[in-house]
């Protein structure tokens, strides 16, 4: 199913979702601006962005790696893809109805940016959003044969693939967040926070539903 065109589209989705997550102030780039201002040091900005990226990467990996194991269940590939799609749709619907920010996130100390980033990406389904895209990119098990050796190879490949997907996505996220933070810090000023911050909650939830629906459509 992974012909060249759809593979390119899926990688595009990995990058685009990364840019989307990175540019969203809710995923933390304003904290990098604050860090640089609080420390009176420009160098604190990239450090904070890297910490946010590390947390984001960990959140992606923590969700994708278990799914990479599931790709071993050759007979149920379709069901897994449909299930993953349903899960993403479910989270999207939940976030649409229950538009609240979990209170435990407010208890993370401001210095623990990586932890905060990990938790926020997990709680808001940023990581889950990638699952259907990732599953689309996984090697087609039919083409591998069904031997033990093939299964082991497949697991390794798909595990590596999960890390690559998480890495590429995070790189895009870090670039978008880094550019936004640098622009605000160096040129635009903090005013943009209450002028240019849009409530993406509904859009975010809808994009989860769309990604899930697309995954199901492709799998069926």
């Amino acid at each position: 199913m992974a012909d060249a065109q759809s593979t390119a589209a899926l990688w595009g989705a990995v990058v685009l979702s990364g840019l989307y997550h990175g540019a969203n102030p809710g995923m933390g780039w304003p904290l990098a601006v604050s860090a640089a201002m609080m420390e009176h040091r420009r160098a604190a900005l990239p450090r904070a962005i890297v910490a946010l990226g590390a947390g984001h990467f960990a959140a992606m990996a923590a969700i994708l790696i278990p799914f990479s194991m599931l790709t071993l269940l050759l007979a149920w590939q379709q069901q897994i893809r449909i299930g993953a799609g349903a899960l993403v749709i479910g989270l999207g619907l939940y976030l649409l109805i229950h538009r609240r920010h979990p209170r435990f996130l407010s208890r993370v100390p401001p210095g623990r940016l990586a932890l905060w980033s990990f938790l926020i990406a997990t709680a808001h389904g940023a990581a889950l959003m990638l699952v259907p895209i990732y599953l689309g990119l996984c090697a087609d098990p039919e083409a591998q044969g069904a031997s033990h050796a093939a299964a082991a190879r497949l697991m390794g490949e798909n595990g590596l693939q999960a890390l690559v997907v998480a890495g590429v996505h995070t790189l895009a996220m870090v670039c978008a967040g880094g550019i936004a933070a640098t622009a605000v810090y160096c040129w635009v000023g903090l005013k943009v926070l209450n002028r240019g911050w849009f409530n993406l909650d509904i859009l975010w939830a809808i994009s989860l539903v769309l990604v899930g629906a697309l995954a199901i459509a492709l799998a069926a």
Partner: protein, 467 residues
């Protein structure tokens, strides 16, 4: 929930100072003999309006005897931190506790001067969920709305220590106690914080039997009112350090941290030193190693008086203590205003060097002995008390009542509600506005003031003013 953040949320104190000036003020009115319901008055403070200085609307509550005191907003500039996760709240509701009834009113002022009661949190809900009573200071923060209380459980509020509880910032449901480890803290008054640095500071007034029926002179002279500052790991909800200002430093009240979160210091006003009747300003600060320290940085002397001019309580001293009952810091962290409710003076200090406040301006009005009149010739009962500073730092507003039963002891002739305003000179100094003298409905006293769009004792900022 909105599409963009509330335009009255500002990332830094500097941006808040640049925002348009206030047009409306909300002032709490209390009925000192509980014969009328307490209420909120909306005062026109728009300099270009013909109605400036007039009460343009009032909202009275459905109960009596609440005793309104302090209040706050449901949301402030701190919402702009992604850490808190509430950038799309509206600054729309005033959270007004009744300090005597323990009831909390949530008043919708979105269409101010029109107002309506949005929700009433009954005292039973607060007692049952927190074990606290007598809610006081309100701040919106990381986990919702934080409310300090002056009493614990039981009828007289002495069963267990008072503390802070948290309310949901959207449903206004009481969630529960804030403290996980309160350390030696057993009294409460005010609290505030530095959000990016993640610490909180709280102060002590006294327990309900020490204030509800009036000041207890024996307790004051034996130094039984509060005199400590408590420092907290804000998000860890732990008391990490307690500093005793000295037992003669009676009643450590308002906590005013520097607004710019880069600065790790703040102030606290002490009402009276029982050894010499002085009032004091203390500066507290955070050391590089994270520990806290505090030092008395300014004192205000008592003024000699003929006992014949003094109320019963003070006759034996032949002097009027300044009684530092409120302090407030301008958003640029430059001017600290100090209310001397006893002597009838509003002082301005230049605190550019927080360790050495310089007395830079003064206005005299009211006072136990002086009874200074307003420049318009009218009497001003009581003395300068609850202060509020405009965001741009150019105007200071204040009212004159302290607390129903205490008013009666210090000002037995009464404290008719008043609100006045002073202009701040370009290079410091203050002068009363000759025309601004608000008249409130008959029989009321006036307490805290909140300015539309935020002021100098509500908003917490998560970003510094300068790079």
């Amino acid at each position: 929930m909105t599409v963009r953040p509330d335009p009255t949320f500002h990332a830094s104190p500097q941006l808040a100072m640049e925002a348009p000036p206030e047009k409306l003020a909300f002032t709490l009115m209390l009925s000192p003999d509980f014969s009328q319901p307490d209420g909120v008055a909306v005062v026109n403070v728009d300099r270009r309006s013909a109605h400036c200085g007039k009460v343009v609307n009032t909202l009275l509550m459905p109960n009596r005897g609440d005793e309104f005191h302090h209040f706050g907003w449901n949301a402030c500039s701190s919402a702009l931190s992604p850490l808190n996760g509430h950038p799309f709240l509206e600054r729309r509701y005033l959270i007004i506790p009744g300090i005597r009834s323990s009831r909390i009113y949530v008043v919708d002022v979105k269409d101010a001067p029109k107002m309506k009661i949005h929700r009433i949190v009954e005292p039973e809900e607060i007692f049952a969920k927190t074990g606290y009573s007598r809610p006081h200071t309100v701040h919106c923060g990381p986990e919702g709305i934080y409310v300090s209380t002056l009493g614990g459980g039981g009828k007289d509020g002495t069963e267990g220590p008072p503390g802070i509880f948290i309310m949901d910032c959207e449903s206004f449901e009481v969630i529960g106690r804030y403290e996980m480890d309160r350390g030696p803290q057993d009294k409460h008054y005010d609290f505030w914080w530095n959000l990016p640095r993640d610490y909180m500071v709280s102060s002590e007034w006294g327990l309900p039997p020490q204030f509800e029926n009036g000041i207890v002179p024996a307790d004051l002279l034996s130094n039984k009112y509060g005199h400590r500052l408590h420092f907290w790991d804000l998000r860890g909800r732990r008391n990490v350090q307690t500093i005793d200002l000295g037992e003669n430093q009676q009643m450590a009240l308002e906590i005013r941290p520097a607004h710019d979160p880069v600065k790790q210091y703040g102030f606290c006003g002490v009402v009276v030193d029982t050894t010499n009747l002085e009032g004091a300003i203390w500066t507290w600060w955070r050391e590089k190693d994270g520990t806290f320290n505090a030092r008395k940085t300014a004192t205000i002397p008592p003024e000699a008086a003929d006992p014949a001019d003094l109320p019963e309580l003070l006759k034996g001293f032949s002097a009027v203590p300044p009684l530092v009952t409120d302090i407030d810091l301008s958003l640029d962290d430059k001017h600290l205003y100090v209310a001397c409710w006893g002597t009838g003076e509003l002082r301005q200090y230049d605190v550019s060097d927080p360790m050495a406040p310089k007395h830079s301006g003064s206005v005299r009005i009211g006072g136990i002995v002086q009874k200074g009149r307003h420049p318009n010739g009218k009497a001003f009962q009581g003395g300068p008390q609850m202060l509020e500073i405009s965001r741009d730092g150019k105007r200071v507003y204040w009212t004159n009542s302290l607390y129903s039963t205490w008013d009666d002891q210090f000002y037995p002739e009464g404290v008719e509600a008043a609100m006045v305003m002073a202009h701040v000179g370009d290079n410091g100094g203050i002068a009363l506005d000759k025309d601004f003298h608000v008249a409130f409905p008959e029989g009321y006293r006036s307490h805290q003031i909140r300015l539309e769009g935020g002021d100098c004792s509500t908003d917490s900022f998560c970003y510094p003013s300068a790079r």
